[in-house]
């Protein structure tokens, strides 16, 4: 097949390209330039493009750079800022996958005559109980990225390849090493790629939206302190709340309008149910037992899906509004759907 391989300049996509070649595919590498600003953490900097290009040269494949900065800004950065302004938890990696890698890039690939798009994600394409394709857990549980690929539909998956999804990370590094690829020992990317570790979220958001001080109160309304930027407080958060000693307290509610963060104990944070919006189901029905994961590397918890409501099998921490809740099958092998916590 003719495959457009998305190469971030990391070790996973480097090896993925090599494996596709080994399997006899015709491979063209592409690096998406997503972020026009400064970055030192993620997948968008010039040095990463250099790494991707050099790996492509070493593998003997053509390499291109597509400039999707405008779309990235529109679909990832602006919603990220907007979510913080509204006190919601943003999902930038999910939105990037949804709108850039598996929308814009797939559309471009089809236009250019490719049969499939491949990425270096740690997730596998499996067959669901209904016989259609589903996104399955990665072979390396610690690196599993099925959570951030939750939006992929069975139809999209027919045109996607995840060549390293079943592999263990150390195995991939060894393969890269053996081929002399310069990305072999490159550290994994982490955090939000457009926010520099030096400057951080406060600087990034502060230059785009006003950051407002918030009052911290307990459930009886007693004032306990302040937070410098209520836009950076999420429900469930514990760190960064300046309330001195006492028992561990968590943000139970964030009232953006009145600039009040209500805190309470872990017991008070627990809930029986989570209400959802924007439910997208790829497999199964809207009523039944599921496993739910509420963060990229969180533990799946049992719940019953009842339309737009998740009823937890045992009390669960409140899910921050805006957070993606990804639903897995009862066997915890593949994604059946996803929704956003209200």
């Amino acid at each position: 097949m003719q495959v457009l391989m998305a190469m971030s300049g990391g070790v996973d996509s480097s090896v993925a390209a090599a494996l596709l070649l080994d399997a006899g595919h015709e491979v063209v590498g592409v690096t998406m330039k997503l972020w026009g600003g400064e970055s030192d953490t993620g997948c968008c900097s010039v040095s990463d493009v250099d790494d991707a290009r050099r790996v492509a040269q070493q593998l003997g494949i053509d390499h291109f750079v597509f400039n999707f900065t405008e779309e990235f800004n529109e679909h990832v950065v602006a919603p990220y800022v907007d979510a913080h302004a509204k006190g919601l938890t943003p999902n930038p990696c999910i939105e990037c996958n949804r709108h850039l890698k598996f929308d814009r890039l797939m559309e471009r690939a089809e236009q250019l005559g490719f049969d499939a798009v491949a990425t270096g994600h740690h997730a596998q394409i499996v067959t669901a109980a209904d016989g259609t394709l589903a996104i399955g857990r990665g072979g390396d549980a610690a690196k599993d990225q099925s959570y951030v690929l939750n939006m992929l539909t069975p139809e999209q998956l027919t045109k996607i390849m995840l060549p390293v999804g079943g592999s263990q990370k150390p195995e991939l590094r060894a393969l890269a090493e053996a081929r002399g690829l310069r990305t072999a020992s490159k550290p994994d990317s982490q955090d939000v790629c457009f926010i520099t570790s030096n400057a951080g979220r406060v600087t990034f958001l502060g230059s785009r939206i006003p950051l407002r001080q918030g009052r911290i109160v307990d459930t009886d309304g007693v004032e306990l302190g302040t937070v410098p930027a209520i836009e950076l407080v999420n429900v469930g958060m514990r760190k960064g709340l300046d309330i001195g000693g006492g028992p561990r307290r968590f943000a139970l509610d964030v009232d953006m309008e009145n600039q009040v963060v209500t805190v309470g104990t872990l017991d008070q944070l627990m809930t029986e149910k989570t209400v959802l919006r924007d439910l997208q189901l790829h497999h199964g029905s809207a009523h039944g037992d599921v496993l739910v994961q509420v963060s990229a590397h969180g533990t799946p918890e049992a719940a019953t899906l009842d339309g737009d409501t998740l009823r937890w099998a045992s009390p669960h921490r409140k899910v921050a509004p805006g957070q993606s809740c990804v639903l897995y099958d009862a066997g915890n092998t593949y994604v059946i759907g996803a929704a956003i916590a209200r």
Partner: protein, 376 residues
């Protein structure tokens, strides 16, 4: 589309990016590397031979540009020449929004002012007047634009700045123009002129800043005092010899080359503008003979270039950033080309090596690619 179906015919339409080194330039450079390896600053026979090679090159460049040999400063290329002119002339600097970044970023770096252009890409003389003052020391206006191909009338620019910036030196980036225009005429009004060898059949890594008497820049590289202390560093002897040879051939063949290439360009542009909603960005009378710049509606530039390359057409759109990604064109934006048109920009630049077969191939491939992209 893929490597297994390698294109049968390849046609290079990116002469504004760089040109193939002329065979006789390769010859003189190879001889220089083997026979004239001396350090031109030295005193013995081997050194004197290298010195002589540079002096002869300087004479040749001077006679072709229309200046005195002592006014020729050899540099590492066009960017260094532009930077030397601008950073080396302290005081208020003025340039134009469509300049190459080697000029534009340098002027921005020193806090200078930027004049606008007309829709043809020519400098807007009213806008230029408006940003110039009696304190202005540097006005930099390119002779021909690297994207759109537009030629500026430097005599008119000179008349304007005589009134509004009487104390300024006029610098021109002639990097694109040098392959096509007789600088004795076209750049006669300029006090400083930048050129780069690889745009006219010479090697990369060597260029010239002409600084006419009374307009010497302040040195930006200090050291051994080469190039009249204006540009220290042991000269790139073979590169300089190659530059002079390339310029000599270019000047000798200019009339014939220009007429031949203009005919090819006209056939190419005439053919491609037959396609619906394909527009020539600048009318031909205002630009270089090798320039065919088109704005193609309803087509994405990146996709178009990808498919063209797969079929052996090597072209470009706007300038590329360090990562190799295509950046939106600041030139087309300054000319007021609507974003929808600019995103489908296609720069086909012809040159000495362009053949009739290249144009045939382009006319066979490009309409299909446009239709294919529009069909999706």
């Amino acid at each position: 589309m893929t490597r297994s179906e390698a294109p049968r015919h390849v046609a290079y339409f990116d002469h504004a990016a760089t040109t193939q080194v002329h065979p006789s330039v390769v010859d003189v450079m190879m001889r220089c590397y083997s026979d004239t390896f001396g350090n031109p600053s030295g005193g013995h026979t081997v050194a004197r031979a290298a010195r002589r090679a540079i002096d002869e090159a300087r004479d040749a460049v001077a006679s072709i540009v229309g200046c005195a040999p002592r006014e020729v400063i050899f540099t590492s290329g066009g960017t260094e020449a532009d930077n030397l002119a601008i950073f080396g002339t302290p005081g208020h600097a003025v340039t134009v929004a469509t300049e190459h970044h080697a000029v534009l970023h340098a002027v921005e770096h020193v806090g200078g002012s930027i004049a606008g252009v007309l829709s043809t890409g020519e400098v807007d003389l009213d806008s230029l007047s408006a940003v110039c003052t009696t304190n202005t020391r540097m006005v930099s206006v390119m002779l021909a634009n690297n994207e759109a191909g537009t030629i500026n009338d430097l005599d008119a620019v000179r008349r304007t700045i005589k009134k509004c910036a009487p104390n300024a030196s006029l610098h021109t980036d002639a990097v694109q123009a040098a392959a096509w225009l007789d600088l004795r005429e076209a750049a006669r009004s300029a006090d400083m002129i930048s050129m780069s060898a690889h745009k006219f059949g010479g090697p990369k890594g060597v260029g010239v800043l002409v600084a006419r008497s009374g307009h010497d820049p302040q040195a930006q590289l200090v050291g051994g005092g080469q190039e009249r202390e204006l540009r220290s560093g042991t000269q790139n002897v073979a590169g300089i010899v190659g530059l002079a040879e390339a310029l000599r051939i270019t000047d000798r063949d200019r009339a014939v080359t220009n007429a031949r290439v203009a005919t090819l360009r006209d056939r190419l542009a005439d053919g491609l503008t037959q396609i619906a909603n394909v527009h020539e960005t600048v009318e031909r009378s205002k630009k270089l003979p090798g320039s065919c710049h088109l704005c193609i509606e309803d087509v994405e530039g990146e996709s178009m270039l990808f498919l063209l390359e797969r079929q052996g057409i090597y072209a470009s759109a706007a300038s590329s950033c360090a990562s190799g990604a295509m950046e939106p064109s600041h030139v087309l934006a300054a000319m007021g080309v609507p974003i929808g048109r600019a995103s489908g920009a296609l720069r086909l630049t012809l040159g000495v090596t362009t053949s009739n077969a290249d144009v045939d191939h382009a006319l066979a491939v490009i309409p299909d690619v446009i239709n294919r992209l529009r069909a999706r």
